[in-house]
Amino acid sequence: MGRETILELWRYRELLYFFAWREIKVRYRQAAFGAGWAVVQPLLSMVVFTLLFGRVAHMPSDGIPYPIFCYCALVPWTYFSSVVTTASGSLVNNESLLTKVYFPRMLLPAGAALAGLLDFVIGSVLLVGLMLYYHVVASWALVLSPVIILVMVLVTVGVSMMMAAANVRYRDVKYALPFLIQIWMFATPVIYPVTVIPKWLRPILALNPCWGIVDGFRACLFPGIPFDARLLGISVAVALAVFLAGVYYFHREEKSFADVI
């Protein structure tokens, strides 16, 4: 990927914004409840998970109230999973765009990632509300949250690029992805704390870049959860690799999109 490609992406930056804008505008059109869904969706997942894993299964949560413990992980996780799902269909669902106009193709999955940030912000605002409700005082590590958010976006974009490009050639992605995401969630400490995992296994599980993001988020918010710099380091390194691999694969495949789709 040369300088020219990057310059071109820069020239088309407004289109990225328009794709994200379209995604957001269209999402809750003709829904009676409208944008309210953006608020209710994460709350409902929280309630379901709290009842199922907190109350019924008595999942430990490092002494933090389970609802906020779980919700704090759900915010970044929902961003990741919903963006990857939307983005994986972004090329295939815009076939006419791909075969009729030229523009940097990366903008389609990237637009989905940008649009997802709005839901992420709404989710974060709710999180602040929950923290006030549960009297949780954020730890000093909160200053690191921008880094973690950046890593979250990089991983999401990387995986999105891969899935979107692969979907053009192999529609199998559409069917396999929901399972992949489900398994991925259980491999990530969303509903359980890191402490239930044996120590020796943690560095291996940290190869999952979402691990570091979710755990990092918790460490930012709850003083009781220590920042494990080593595990976070592994996740960040993998995240960067995933991002680069996704962009590389997408770039390699994009020349044939219009012919194969």
Binding site: L97, T99, V101
Partner: protein, 425 residues
Amino acid sequence: MIIVEKLSKQYRIGHIRSTTLPETLMNLATLAFLRKKTQEETIWALRDISLSIEPGETVGIIGRNGAGKSTLLKILSKITYPTSGTLKVGGRVAAMLEVGTGFHQELTGRENIYLNGSILGMTKKEVDRKLDAIIEFSGVEKFIDTPIKRYSSGMRLRLGFAVAAHLEAEILIVDEVLAVGDAAFQRKCLNTMENLRERARTVLFVSHNLAAVENLCRRCVWIDAGRVHMDGESRRVIEAYMQSMVGQTDAGDLDKVENRRGNGKIRFRAVEFLSSEGDVQRVVRAGDPVVMRFHYLASQPVYHPSLGFRMYTDMGTLITDTSTWHHSVDIPVLEGEGHIDLAIECLNLLPAKYTLSLWATDDSGMVVYDNVEHGITLEVETANIYGSGKDIDSRSGIVFFPQKWNLAGTLKRPVGLENIAAQER
């Protein structure tokens, strides 16, 4: 400026996605999917195309369906990439391969202008500046804040073209968009194209409307079977192209025609022109009654089909498109061989050669049974059409109407009297 050298494009026509589940399981079991690559067939959509187009030139591209025109445009607009060859394009390219690309049903007309404009490469500022002009051009002011899913297809088309017409690019690539819409809209589109040409931009124009191509483009490139067949002055190229279409078949026999579309449930076998006495004529006299007899073969029963034809001049101008559908004539069923007659009271065509395209579809027009483009020639010979003994030929136009001059208004009257009469009133 566009310079294309030895451009080729190869397509794979594999069976990758058309496999059924049992086949897939079979493939998995025998590991055949690992060997699939070798079974793929390939075709060359373009072969060694070399072209050079100067800034400010307006070039028409013509050719049959599947000749490679669209592939060429797609390569020029970077939508797809050539298999081999080089391509140099100097300047910003705007391609209109479809009107209203990227329109979203749920968004309003105004929102779609921004979205579409930005997809076509306009900046938001540019759209802001041209928004009023675009809305006015589209003629859908009243509905501009209504979601376009409530628009008619014509309104959507006009809105799409309005955006495209305001693109500012050094090179404009237009494909077939003019083939749709009503006559007034087509007129508007052609005017826009002319304006663009006058602004000295490079325009590439692909269309089946040969008259429009001739009108807009001084130069024309004829592409056939993926190669440049002829490149030169529009009139000459178009004439040669029409000549080749006409030369393909003897009007009486369509069985050998291969350049046709449709699923073949109905096939046109021949068209005959019958005189009022019922004799088959090779040449029809201008102004005579004529019966067109369409011979068909329906390999299986086809219910409620529509059959019709389009007639063109030798320069490709559409004269008429008429069918059983236009007349609300219901054909309950066609089966086996037979013929359908169309009686024309008076063939009001001036002497020339005309070509006919035949089509047969289901009653919705969505399923095409047969379509033969320019498959038939109709030769109209001169006749004493006005009863004047004058030889009226194609220099006087395409059609004539039953008509009579009336000189009653020229009878001499004294000028003075009339003036007095006017004053008295």
